[in-house]
Symmetry: C2
Subunit: 213 residues, 2 copies
DNA sequence: TAGATTGTTAATCGATTAACAATC
DNA sequence: TAGATTGTTAATCGATTAACAATC
Protein backbone atom coordinates (compact mmCIF):
# COMPACT_ATOMS: atom_id res chain seq x y z
CA UNK A 1 0.00 0.00 0.00
CA UNK A 2 1.34 3.39 -1.00
CA UNK A 3 0.78 6.87 0.41
CA UNK A 4 0.71 10.27 -1.19
CA UNK A 5 3.38 12.69 -0.05
CA UNK A 6 2.53 14.39 3.23
CA UNK A 7 2.72 18.16 3.81
CA UNK A 8 6.18 19.13 5.13
CA UNK A 9 4.76 20.61 8.33
CA UNK A 10 2.83 17.45 9.02
CA UNK A 11 6.00 15.38 8.59
CA UNK A 12 7.73 17.54 11.19
CA UNK A 13 4.92 17.11 13.65
CA UNK A 14 4.64 13.38 13.06
CA UNK A 15 8.30 13.05 13.92
CA UNK A 16 7.61 14.92 17.15
CA UNK A 17 4.46 12.95 17.98
CA UNK A 18 6.40 9.75 17.62
CA UNK A 19 9.09 10.88 19.98
CA UNK A 20 6.48 11.85 22.56
CA UNK A 21 4.68 8.55 22.10
CA UNK A 22 7.85 6.56 22.62
CA UNK A 23 8.64 8.52 25.74
CA UNK A 24 5.09 8.02 27.06
CA UNK A 25 5.36 4.33 26.40
CA UNK A 26 8.58 4.19 28.40
CA UNK A 27 6.70 5.88 31.24
CA UNK A 28 4.25 3.00 31.12
CA UNK A 29 1.35 4.75 29.43
CA UNK A 30 -0.66 2.76 26.93
CA UNK A 31 -3.07 5.41 25.61
CA UNK A 32 -3.09 9.13 24.99
CA UNK A 33 -5.69 11.71 23.94
CA UNK A 34 -5.24 14.22 21.14
CA UNK A 35 -5.40 17.10 23.61
CA UNK A 36 -2.55 15.61 25.62
CA UNK A 37 -0.32 15.30 22.57
CA UNK A 38 -1.33 18.82 21.57
CA UNK A 39 -0.44 20.26 24.97
CA UNK A 40 3.06 18.80 24.84
CA UNK A 41 3.73 20.44 21.49
CA UNK A 42 1.77 23.62 22.15
CA UNK A 43 -0.53 23.06 19.24
CA UNK A 44 -4.20 22.18 19.02
CA UNK A 45 -6.05 18.88 19.44
CA UNK A 46 -7.67 19.41 16.04
CA UNK A 47 -4.32 19.64 14.37
CA UNK A 48 -3.14 16.48 16.07
CA UNK A 49 -6.24 14.60 14.94
CA UNK A 50 -5.93 15.91 11.42
CA UNK A 51 -2.27 14.87 11.20
CA UNK A 52 -3.12 11.43 12.54
CA UNK A 53 -5.95 11.16 10.06
CA UNK A 54 -3.39 11.66 7.28
CA UNK A 55 -1.42 8.61 8.37
CA UNK A 56 -4.62 6.59 8.41
CA UNK A 57 -4.69 5.61 12.04
CA UNK A 58 -7.91 5.47 14.02
CA UNK A 59 -8.13 6.12 17.73
CA UNK A 60 -10.53 4.93 20.35
CA UNK A 61 -13.34 7.23 21.45
CA UNK A 62 -12.95 6.27 25.07
CA UNK A 63 -9.23 5.79 25.51
CA UNK A 64 -7.74 7.95 22.79
CA UNK A 65 -4.82 6.60 20.78
CA UNK A 66 -2.92 3.44 21.52
CA UNK A 67 0.58 4.79 22.12
CA UNK A 68 2.53 1.93 20.61
CA UNK A 69 0.24 1.32 17.68
CA UNK A 70 0.26 4.97 16.69
CA UNK A 71 4.05 5.22 17.00
CA UNK A 72 4.34 2.18 14.79
CA UNK A 73 1.90 3.53 12.25
CA UNK A 74 3.78 6.85 12.04
CA UNK A 75 6.95 4.86 11.48
CA UNK A 76 5.38 2.96 8.59
CA UNK A 77 4.54 6.23 6.91
CA UNK A 78 7.60 8.39 7.53
CA UNK A 79 10.35 5.77 7.67
CA UNK A 80 12.01 4.26 4.68
CA UNK A 81 11.78 0.50 4.25
CA UNK A 82 15.51 0.14 4.25
CA UNK A 83 17.63 2.10 6.66
CA UNK A 84 18.48 5.45 5.16
CA UNK A 85 22.22 6.00 5.22
CA UNK A 86 23.55 9.45 6.03
CA UNK A 87 26.92 11.17 5.71
CA UNK A 88 27.94 13.93 8.07
CA UNK A 89 30.24 16.49 6.47
CA UNK A 90 32.36 18.15 9.13
CA UNK A 91 33.40 16.50 12.38
CA UNK A 92 33.98 19.70 14.30
CA UNK A 93 31.98 21.06 17.21
CA UNK A 94 28.70 21.25 15.34
CA UNK A 95 29.15 17.91 13.60
CA UNK A 96 29.96 16.02 16.76
CA UNK A 97 27.07 17.78 18.50
CA UNK A 98 24.74 16.48 15.79
CA UNK A 99 26.13 13.00 16.36
CA UNK A 100 25.48 13.06 20.06
CA UNK A 101 21.98 14.57 19.80
CA UNK A 102 21.05 12.03 17.16
CA UNK A 103 22.72 9.02 18.72
CA UNK A 104 20.42 6.12 19.38
CA UNK A 105 17.36 8.10 18.32
CA UNK A 106 16.26 6.33 15.24
CA UNK A 107 16.75 2.90 13.87
CA UNK A 108 15.76 3.57 10.27
CA UNK A 109 18.18 6.45 9.81
CA UNK A 110 21.86 5.86 10.37
CA UNK A 111 24.78 8.25 10.20
CA UNK A 112 27.26 5.82 8.68
CA UNK A 113 30.29 8.06 8.18
CA UNK A 114 31.63 11.50 8.88
CA UNK A 115 34.11 13.46 6.82
CA UNK A 116 36.67 16.07 7.73
CA UNK A 117 39.98 17.46 6.51
CA UNK A 118 41.88 17.65 9.81
CA UNK A 119 44.55 14.91 9.75
CA UNK A 120 44.20 14.17 13.45
CA UNK A 121 40.52 13.26 13.05
CA UNK A 122 40.90 10.79 10.19
CA UNK A 123 40.44 7.18 11.14
CA UNK A 124 39.02 8.17 14.52
CA UNK A 125 35.49 7.44 15.66
CA UNK A 126 33.05 10.04 17.00
CA UNK A 127 30.11 8.55 18.87
CA UNK A 128 31.07 5.37 17.09
CA UNK A 129 31.04 6.92 13.61
CA UNK A 130 34.24 6.57 11.61
CA UNK A 131 35.82 9.71 10.18
CA UNK A 132 37.18 9.75 6.61
CA UNK A 133 38.99 12.41 4.66
CA UNK A 134 36.65 14.60 2.67
CA UNK A 135 38.50 13.66 -0.52
CA UNK A 136 37.15 10.17 -0.14
CA UNK A 137 33.53 11.32 -0.37
CA UNK A 138 32.86 9.98 -3.89
CA UNK A 139 34.10 6.45 -3.17
CA UNK A 140 32.49 6.25 0.24
CA UNK A 141 29.10 7.48 -0.92
CA UNK A 142 28.95 4.57 -3.34
CA UNK A 143 30.56 2.02 -1.07
CA UNK A 144 28.40 2.86 1.95
CA UNK A 145 25.26 3.44 -0.10
CA UNK A 146 24.75 6.95 1.28
CA UNK A 147 21.72 8.91 0.07
CA UNK A 148 21.60 11.92 2.37
CA UNK A 149 24.13 14.36 3.82
CA UNK A 150 24.31 16.80 6.70
CA UNK A 151 26.50 19.85 6.20
CA UNK A 152 28.16 20.93 9.44
CA UNK A 153 31.43 22.35 8.20
CA UNK A 154 32.58 25.97 8.06
CA UNK A 155 30.22 28.05 5.92
CA UNK A 156 32.88 28.99 3.38
CA UNK A 157 33.47 25.37 2.36
CA UNK A 158 29.84 24.31 2.20
CA UNK A 159 29.35 24.93 -1.50
CA UNK A 160 32.38 22.90 -2.51
CA UNK A 161 31.15 19.99 -0.46
CA UNK A 162 27.64 20.34 -1.89
CA UNK A 163 29.06 20.16 -5.40
CA UNK A 164 30.68 16.81 -4.67
CA UNK A 165 27.51 15.53 -3.05
CA UNK A 166 25.43 16.49 -6.07
CA UNK A 167 27.90 14.88 -8.47
CA UNK A 168 27.66 11.68 -6.50
CA UNK A 169 23.91 11.55 -6.61
CA UNK A 170 22.95 12.42 -3.05
CA UNK A 171 19.14 12.79 -2.74
CA UNK A 172 18.80 15.16 0.20
CA UNK A 173 20.90 17.72 2.06
CA UNK A 174 20.40 19.20 5.50
CA UNK A 175 22.45 22.39 5.63
CA UNK A 176 23.40 23.76 9.05
CA UNK A 177 25.80 26.35 7.64
CA UNK A 178 24.87 29.86 6.52
CA UNK A 179 25.93 29.14 2.94
CA UNK A 180 23.47 29.62 0.08
CA UNK A 181 23.83 26.33 -1.71
CA UNK A 182 23.74 26.12 -5.43
CA UNK A 183 22.16 22.74 -6.11
CA UNK A 184 19.58 21.40 -8.55
CA UNK A 185 15.94 21.44 -7.55
CA UNK A 186 15.68 17.69 -7.78
CA UNK A 187 17.62 17.43 -4.54
CA UNK A 188 15.68 18.01 -1.36
CA UNK A 189 17.31 20.79 0.62
CA UNK A 190 16.55 21.85 4.16
CA UNK A 191 18.22 24.95 5.51
CA UNK A 192 18.69 25.28 9.28
CA UNK A 193 20.89 28.29 9.49
CA UNK A 194 21.82 29.30 13.03
CA UNK A 195 22.46 32.93 12.30
CA UNK A 196 19.04 33.37 10.68
CA UNK A 197 17.32 31.58 13.53
CA UNK A 198 18.93 33.85 16.11
CA UNK A 199 18.00 36.97 14.15
CA UNK A 200 14.43 35.77 13.79
CA UNK A 201 13.94 35.30 17.52
CA UNK A 202 15.69 38.61 18.16
CA UNK A 203 13.23 40.37 15.86
CA UNK A 204 10.19 39.05 17.69
CA UNK A 205 11.74 39.83 21.04
CA UNK A 206 12.21 43.39 19.86
CA UNK A 207 8.60 43.53 18.67
CA UNK A 208 7.31 42.24 22.00
CA UNK A 209 9.29 44.90 23.80
CA UNK A 210 7.82 47.62 21.59
CA UNK A 211 4.33 46.24 22.15
CA UNK A 212 4.77 46.21 25.92
CA UNK A 213 5.92 49.76 26.28
CA UNK B 1 8.50 55.93 12.59
CA UNK B 2 7.09 52.56 13.56
CA UNK B 3 6.40 49.44 11.55
CA UNK B 4 3.80 46.73 11.86
CA UNK B 5 5.12 43.28 12.65
CA UNK B 6 6.45 41.48 9.61
CA UNK B 7 5.47 37.91 8.66
CA UNK B 8 7.89 35.40 10.23
CA UNK B 9 8.96 34.01 6.87
CA UNK B 10 9.74 37.48 5.61
CA UNK B 11 11.90 38.14 8.66
CA UNK B 12 13.92 35.01 7.92
CA UNK B 13 14.46 36.03 4.33
CA UNK B 14 15.35 39.61 5.23
CA UNK B 15 18.07 38.28 7.50
CA UNK B 16 19.39 36.24 4.58
CA UNK B 17 19.15 39.10 2.09
CA UNK B 18 21.17 41.26 4.38
CA UNK B 19 23.92 38.72 4.69
CA UNK B 20 24.10 38.38 0.93
CA UNK B 21 24.10 42.15 0.52
CA UNK B 22 26.96 42.58 2.96
CA UNK B 23 28.95 39.89 1.21
CA UNK B 24 28.27 41.50 -2.19
CA UNK B 25 29.37 44.81 -0.85
CA UNK B 26 32.63 43.28 0.34
CA UNK B 27 33.13 41.96 -3.19
CA UNK B 28 32.90 45.55 -4.39
CA UNK B 29 29.39 45.44 -5.84
CA UNK B 30 27.25 48.52 -5.40
CA UNK B 31 23.94 47.36 -6.90
CA UNK B 32 21.98 44.15 -7.25
CA UNK B 33 18.79 43.08 -9.06
CA UNK B 34 15.93 41.20 -7.45
CA UNK B 35 16.56 38.21 -9.70
CA UNK B 36 20.15 38.02 -8.51
CA UNK B 37 19.15 37.99 -4.86
CA UNK B 38 16.48 35.43 -5.69
CA UNK B 39 18.94 33.13 -7.45
CA UNK B 40 21.25 33.08 -4.45
CA UNK B 41 18.43 32.00 -2.16
CA UNK B 42 16.64 29.79 -4.68
CA UNK B 43 13.46 31.78 -4.45
CA UNK B 44 11.72 34.08 -6.91
CA UNK B 45 12.37 37.70 -7.92
CA UNK B 46 8.76 38.54 -7.09
CA UNK B 47 9.15 37.32 -3.58
CA UNK B 48 12.31 39.33 -3.13
CA UNK B 49 10.59 42.48 -4.37
CA UNK B 50 7.58 41.87 -2.19
CA UNK B 51 9.74 41.39 0.89
CA UNK B 52 11.67 44.54 0.10
CA UNK B 53 8.41 46.38 -0.43
CA UNK B 54 7.48 45.49 3.14
CA UNK B 55 10.55 47.20 4.55
CA UNK B 56 9.69 50.28 2.53
CA UNK B 57 12.78 50.50 0.39
CA UNK B 58 12.62 51.50 -3.25
CA UNK B 59 15.06 50.28 -5.88
CA UNK B 60 16.25 51.79 -9.10
CA UNK B 61 14.71 50.61 -12.36
CA UNK B 62 18.02 50.62 -14.16
CA UNK B 63 20.47 49.50 -11.53
CA UNK B 64 18.33 47.49 -9.13
CA UNK B 65 18.90 47.94 -5.41
CA UNK B 66 21.72 49.87 -3.82
CA UNK B 67 23.45 47.16 -1.85
CA UNK B 68 24.48 49.23 1.15
CA UNK B 69 21.30 51.28 1.39
CA UNK B 70 19.14 48.19 1.29
CA UNK B 71 21.26 46.38 3.89
CA UNK B 72 20.96 49.43 6.11
CA UNK B 73 17.21 49.66 5.60
CA UNK B 74 16.74 46.01 6.49
CA UNK B 75 18.76 46.63 9.63
CA UNK B 76 16.51 49.52 10.62
CA UNK B 77 13.52 47.23 10.42
CA UNK B 78 14.75 43.99 11.90
CA UNK B 79 17.34 45.21 14.39
CA UNK B 80 16.53 46.47 17.82
CA UNK B 81 17.59 50.03 18.66
CA UNK B 82 19.69 48.87 21.53
CA UNK B 83 21.85 45.79 21.23
CA UNK B 84 19.84 42.74 22.16
CA UNK B 85 21.62 40.74 24.80
CA UNK B 86 21.57 36.97 24.61
CA UNK B 87 22.41 34.14 27.01
CA UNK B 88 23.62 30.80 25.75
CA UNK B 89 22.61 27.91 27.99
CA UNK B 90 25.07 25.04 27.58
CA UNK B 91 28.71 25.47 26.63
CA UNK B 92 29.20 21.99 25.23
CA UNK B 93 29.80 21.01 21.63
CA UNK B 94 26.58 22.52 20.33
CA UNK B 95 26.84 25.66 22.40
CA UNK B 96 30.40 26.44 21.40
CA UNK B 97 29.49 25.66 17.78
CA UNK B 98 26.74 28.28 17.99
CA UNK B 99 29.28 30.73 19.37
CA UNK B 100 31.72 30.21 16.53
CA UNK B 101 29.09 30.31 13.78
CA UNK B 102 27.63 33.47 15.22
CA UNK B 103 30.86 35.20 16.12
CA UNK B 104 31.31 38.60 14.55
CA UNK B 105 28.12 38.25 12.51
CA UNK B 106 25.89 40.87 13.97
CA UNK B 107 26.49 44.01 15.86
CA UNK B 108 23.00 44.52 17.27
CA UNK B 109 22.79 41.05 18.80
CA UNK B 110 25.37 40.00 21.33
CA UNK B 111 25.83 36.74 23.15
CA UNK B 112 26.95 38.22 26.46
CA UNK B 113 27.27 35.10 28.60
CA UNK B 114 27.16 31.35 28.50
CA UNK B 115 26.10 29.01 31.27
CA UNK B 116 27.09 25.48 32.10
CA UNK B 117 27.36 23.15 35.07
CA UNK B 118 30.76 21.58 34.40
CA UNK B 119 33.20 22.98 37.00
CA UNK B 120 36.12 23.08 34.55
CA UNK B 121 34.26 25.43 32.22
CA UNK B 122 33.28 28.04 34.79
CA UNK B 123 35.19 31.28 34.54
CA UNK B 124 36.59 30.30 31.16
CA UNK B 125 35.89 32.12 27.93
CA UNK B 126 34.55 30.50 24.75
CA UNK B 127 35.01 32.65 21.65
CA UNK B 128 35.45 35.49 24.12
CA UNK B 129 32.21 34.77 25.98
CA UNK B 130 32.52 34.19 29.72
CA UNK B 131 31.03 31.02 31.18
CA UNK B 132 29.05 31.16 34.43
CA UNK B 133 27.46 28.43 36.51
CA UNK B 134 23.86 27.79 35.57
CA UNK B 135 22.83 28.52 39.15
CA UNK B 136 23.79 32.13 38.57
CA UNK B 137 21.25 32.58 35.78
CA UNK B 138 18.78 34.72 37.76
CA UNK B 139 21.39 37.27 38.93
CA UNK B 140 23.18 37.42 35.59
CA UNK B 141 20.02 37.89 33.55
CA UNK B 142 19.29 41.02 35.53
CA UNK B 143 22.86 42.22 35.81
CA UNK B 144 23.66 41.74 32.11
CA UNK B 145 20.24 42.87 30.94
CA UNK B 146 19.61 39.66 28.99
CA UNK B 147 16.32 39.35 27.11
CA UNK B 148 16.79 36.25 24.98
CA UNK B 149 18.25 32.77 25.48
CA UNK B 150 19.56 29.95 23.32
CA UNK B 151 19.10 26.44 24.69
CA UNK B 152 21.98 24.18 23.69
CA UNK B 153 22.20 21.84 26.64
CA UNK B 154 21.25 18.17 26.88
CA UNK B 155 17.59 17.66 26.05
CA UNK B 156 16.69 16.26 29.47
CA UNK B 157 17.68 19.47 31.26
CA UNK B 158 16.06 21.89 28.83
CA UNK B 159 12.77 22.27 30.68
CA UNK B 160 14.43 23.07 33.99
CA UNK B 161 16.48 25.77 32.33
CA UNK B 162 13.42 27.14 30.53
CA UNK B 163 11.60 27.42 33.84
CA UNK B 164 14.33 29.62 35.28
CA UNK B 165 14.39 31.73 32.11
CA UNK B 166 10.65 32.29 32.27
CA UNK B 167 10.78 33.22 35.95
CA UNK B 168 13.41 35.78 35.14
CA UNK B 169 11.42 37.42 32.43
CA UNK B 170 13.23 36.32 29.29
CA UNK B 171 11.32 37.44 26.17
CA UNK B 172 12.41 34.88 23.58
CA UNK B 173 13.89 31.39 23.50
CA UNK B 174 15.63 29.58 20.67
CA UNK B 175 15.54 25.90 21.51
CA UNK B 176 18.05 23.62 19.79
CA UNK B 177 17.23 20.62 21.97
CA UNK B 178 14.51 18.07 21.29
CA UNK B 179 12.65 18.98 24.47
CA UNK B 180 9.03 20.11 24.34
CA UNK B 181 9.18 23.26 26.38
CA UNK B 182 6.42 24.21 28.70
CA UNK B 183 6.41 27.99 28.59
CA UNK B 184 3.74 30.71 28.48
CA UNK B 185 2.57 31.92 25.09
CA UNK B 186 3.77 35.42 25.78
CA UNK B 187 7.33 34.25 25.25
CA UNK B 188 8.45 33.89 21.67
CA UNK B 189 9.69 30.35 21.11
CA UNK B 190 11.53 29.02 18.09
CA UNK B 191 12.20 25.31 17.89
CA UNK B 192 15.17 24.10 15.81
CA UNK B 193 15.28 20.49 16.74
CA UNK B 194 18.02 18.51 15.01
CA UNK B 195 16.35 15.14 15.24
CA UNK B 196 13.18 16.43 13.61
CA UNK B 197 15.14 18.16 10.86
CA UNK B 198 17.01 14.97 10.02
CA UNK B 199 13.81 12.94 9.93
CA UNK B 200 12.14 15.50 7.72
CA UNK B 201 14.88 15.38 5.10
CA UNK B 202 14.95 11.59 5.36
CA UNK B 203 11.22 11.43 4.62
CA UNK B 204 11.53 13.47 1.44
CA UNK B 205 14.58 11.49 0.35
CA UNK B 206 12.49 8.35 0.74
CA UNK B 207 9.66 9.90 -1.26
CA UNK B 208 12.00 10.92 -4.06
CA UNK B 209 13.32 7.36 -4.22
CA UNK B 210 9.81 5.96 -4.48
CA UNK B 211 8.95 8.46 -7.18
CA UNK B 212 12.03 7.58 -9.22
CA UNK B 213 11.49 3.87 -9.25
C1' DT C 1 11.26 53.08 -28.90
C1' DA C 2 11.98 48.26 -27.05
C1' DG C 3 13.46 45.81 -23.27
C1' DA C 4 14.30 45.21 -18.63
C1' DT C 5 13.20 46.27 -14.39
C1' DT C 6 10.44 47.63 -10.02
C1' DG C 7 6.17 47.96 -7.09
C1' DT C 8 1.76 46.34 -6.09
C1' DT C 9 -2.82 44.26 -6.47
C1' DA C 10 -5.39 40.18 -7.27
C1' DA C 11 -5.45 35.19 -7.56
C1' DT C 12 -3.86 30.93 -6.01
C1' DC C 13 -2.00 27.69 -3.08
C1' DG C 14 -1.18 25.52 1.33
C1' DA C 15 -1.79 25.20 6.19
C1' DT C 16 -4.66 25.92 10.22
C1' DT C 17 -8.89 26.25 12.57
C1' DA C 18 -13.98 26.07 13.15
C1' DA C 19 -17.87 23.42 13.01
C1' DC C 20 -20.16 19.41 13.65
C1' DA C 21 -21.71 14.51 12.93
C1' DA C 22 -20.70 10.05 14.81
C1' DT C 23 -19.50 7.17 18.56
C1' DC C 24 -18.73 5.17 23.02
C1' DT D 1 -28.62 9.56 28.69
C1' DA D 2 -24.93 13.30 29.03
C1' DG D 3 -20.30 14.20 28.28
C1' DA D 4 -16.12 13.50 26.16
C1' DT D 5 -13.90 12.14 22.46
C1' DT D 6 -12.58 11.15 17.37
C1' DG D 7 -12.75 11.97 12.28
C1' DT D 8 -13.69 14.96 8.61
C1' DT D 9 -15.55 18.69 5.79
C1' DA D 10 -15.87 23.55 5.16
C1' DA D 11 -14.14 28.09 6.26
C1' DT D 12 -10.45 30.99 7.32
C1' DC D 13 -5.97 32.60 7.52
C1' DG D 14 -1.36 33.35 5.79
C1' DA D 15 2.12 32.93 2.35
C1' DT D 16 3.36 32.63 -2.47
C1' DT D 17 2.80 33.55 -7.20
C1' DA D 18 0.64 35.63 -11.37
C1' DA D 19 -0.45 39.57 -13.67
C1' DC D 20 0.41 43.94 -15.00
C1' DA D 21 1.01 49.12 -14.77
C1' DA D 22 4.73 52.34 -14.28
C1' DT D 23 9.32 53.71 -15.18
C1' DC D 24 13.88 54.29 -16.99
Amino acid sequence: MEFPSLPPKTVERLSQYRRILISCSQDGRTHIFSHELAAKLSNTPVQVRRDIMLVGYTGNLRKGYDVLELAERIGEVIDACETLRVALIGAGKLGTAVLSYFKGKRSKIEIVACFDVAPEKLGKRFEGVLCYHQNELPERITELNISMAILALPTEFANDAAKVLVENDIKGILNYTSANLNIPETIYLEQYDMVTSIEKVAYFVKQSKIANQ
